[in-house]
């Protein structure tokens, strides 16, 4: 049991940057380039870790605390989430609410730090992040509510470890709605391409990247690492909704899971290579669609009385 917990934590801590590597490789493939090596995100993090941070004189402790708090919140959310067929280290009744709000906390401190710099550019990014954040949070909750209704449980580990396999046969269409809605939310939350461009730091349509312009060195490494972990957790969730089949053997399940999550990274890469970024006022439209997808699923579930 302890070994499984260690395996869970190891994957959670060391695997996420590799996802970014796979996304980068996919995008490079579509662009006809060789692209950076798969381990490039790790090199970037290592490089940033060795550098000293520079702090503006107008900032105070909030700015310094924010990267640590957000990374801690995201990692705490990660230990509530079951990976492959492994039970998470921490689980209790109703932990899905904590799960959502840990991400909200991470977003909140980053927004505070962005406002703390006093830069109007970062304030603009913070305002956008807050707007899209509050729209995506409702949808996220609605999706989790549907899953909780289907598996009759309020704990993430119970929902994703076996609670959903029978639901695919009974209400498969609703789960497809949840998957689509959740994928849209995932793109918004992780500032991927149709919403935001993770590559550049200096463009007027930036949402997330613009808020971290003043962070440097270790702080920036924390934020980038936190983003990778967040993407990994969301990907894990998506993969666990779609693929409920488990062999029962932890190692084989883990191996399958790694393959699934790499496929997820490639999918994100394909979406990013084939789509252009949406105009900013269209992003709320995307969020509306995600919301209506999940509302529709929710209504069907209520009518069916599951």
């Amino acid at each position: 049991m302890t070994i499984l917990l260690l395996l869970h934590l190891t994957i959670l801590i060391f695997f996420p940057p590799l996802l970014l590597g796979f996304i980068g490789k996919t995008k490079a493939f579509f662009a006809g380039r060789i692209g950076p090596p798969l381990l490039q995100p790790y090199y970037d993090l290592y490089k940033l870790m060795r550098k000293a941070s520079v702090y503006s004189v107008t900032t105070n402790w909030i700015f310094r605390a924010a990267p640590m708090v957000s990374l801690a919140a995201i990692l705490s959310a990660g230990i509530l989430m079951p990976i492959a067929a492994m039970k998470p280290p921490v689980q209790f009744w109703g932990d899905m609410i904590l799960f959502v709000y840990l991400f909200a906390l991470a977003r909140f401190v980053i927004i505070l730090a962005a406002l703390d710099t006093g830069s109007s550019f970062e304030g603009m990014g913070a305002s956008r992040e807050a707007t899209f954040g509050c729209l995506s949070e409702i949808t996220m909750f609605l999706n989790l509510t549907i899953l909780a209704l289907l598996s009759r449980n309020l704990s993430l580990s119970e929902i994703f470890l076996g609670g959903l396999s029978s639901s695919w046969l009974l209400v498969g269409p609703v789960l497809i709605l949840v998957v689509v809605s959740f994928f849209l939310i995932l793109l918004v939350e992780n500032s991927r391409i149709p919403v935001d461009d993770p590559e550049t730091h200096l463009e007027l349509t930036m949402i997330h990247e613009v808020m971290v312009l003043d962070h440097s060195g270790v702080d920036l490494a924390y934020i980038l690492y936190g983003k990778a972990v967040k993407l990994f957790i969301f990907g894990t969730m998506l993969v666990s909704i779609i693929i409920t089949f488990r062999t029962g053997d932890s190692l084989i399940d883990t191996a399958f899971f790694i393959l699934e999550i790499i496929a997820f990274a490639v999918l994100i890469g394909i979406v990013e290579s084939t789509m252009a970024r949406l105009r900013l006022n269209k992003v709320s439209f995307l969020l509306f669609s995600a919301f209506i997808f999940s509302v529709f699923g929710f209504i069907v579930i209520l009518v069916r009385g599951h």
């Binding site: 269409p173 709605l177 669609s289 209506i292 069916r304």
Partner: protein, 214 residues
């Protein structure tokens, strides 16, 4: 089988949402055609156990008329009057989308309260048809261009057809007449309204019809 029927009905409603959400006329027509093709599949699943020749005929007629011929005419119409997109709808697309969401919720609530004399194969047919009808209405009242109003009318008709499928066993001729009526209405609307507006006013904006002219 029920899951497949559910999937198709949900897909039909979602395609309706796509029509409501888009402003490009070409996209709307494409999606409408796709929706009609899926709609034509519904009786196959609803009456899978008691299949008869006339059911297949009605399905094929609906698919060909609504899924292929109607989009063809609509494309001809937008080429003819050369409009590409709904520039400034009366009700914005985001608002319409949100209203459609409420409409779907209302349709499902309403349908769960209704009591029907006969047993229906799936409890999602009626709410889906209500949703389509309301979405068609929203398009009719919320858009300015005559062609998007025609599409709204056709979406409404799709909703009525979905409801009529339930009567297919009892009175197949009536349903068949309904399908043909749609084609007649569409030809009428397109031939008279679209052409006359564009001849009179050089565009197909229906808001111009409210201004008096002698």
């Amino acid at each position: 089988m029920n899951v497949w029927l559910d999937a198709i009905l949900i897909l039909i409603v979602i395609l309706g949402l796509f029509i409501v959400a888009s402003t490009r006329l070409g996209t709307m027509i494409h999606i409408f055609g796709l929706q009609s093709l899926f709609l034509g599949c519904v009786p196959f699943f609803l009456y899978a156990k008691e299949m008869e020749l006339y059911i297949i005929f009605v399905c094929l007629a609906a698919m060909v008329l609504r899924g292929l011929i109607m989009p063809y005419f609509l494309f001809w119409a937008i080429r003819h009057v050369s409009v590409r997109s709904e520039v400034s709808p009366l009700i914005g697309t985001g608002t319409t989308l949100l209203l459609s969401g409420f409409a779907i919720a209302g349709a499902f609530l309403l349908a769960s309260k209704l009591i029907f004399p006969v047993k229906i194969g799936s409890d999602m047919v009626i709410p889906s048809s209500f949703s389509l009808i309301i979405m068609g209405f929203l398009l009719l009242v919320g858009r300015n261009k005559a062609i998007s109003q025609v599409i709204g009318y056709l979406v409404l008709e799709n909703g009525i057809f979905l409801f009529a499928i339930l009567l297919l066993k009892k009175m197949p001729l009536l349903v068949e007449m309904g399908i043909l009526l749609d084609l007649f209405i569409a030809a009428l609307v397109m031939g008279i309204v679209v052409n006359h507006i564009s001849v009179e006013f050089n565009n197909t904006d229906t808001t111009q019809l409210t201004t008096l002219k002698d």
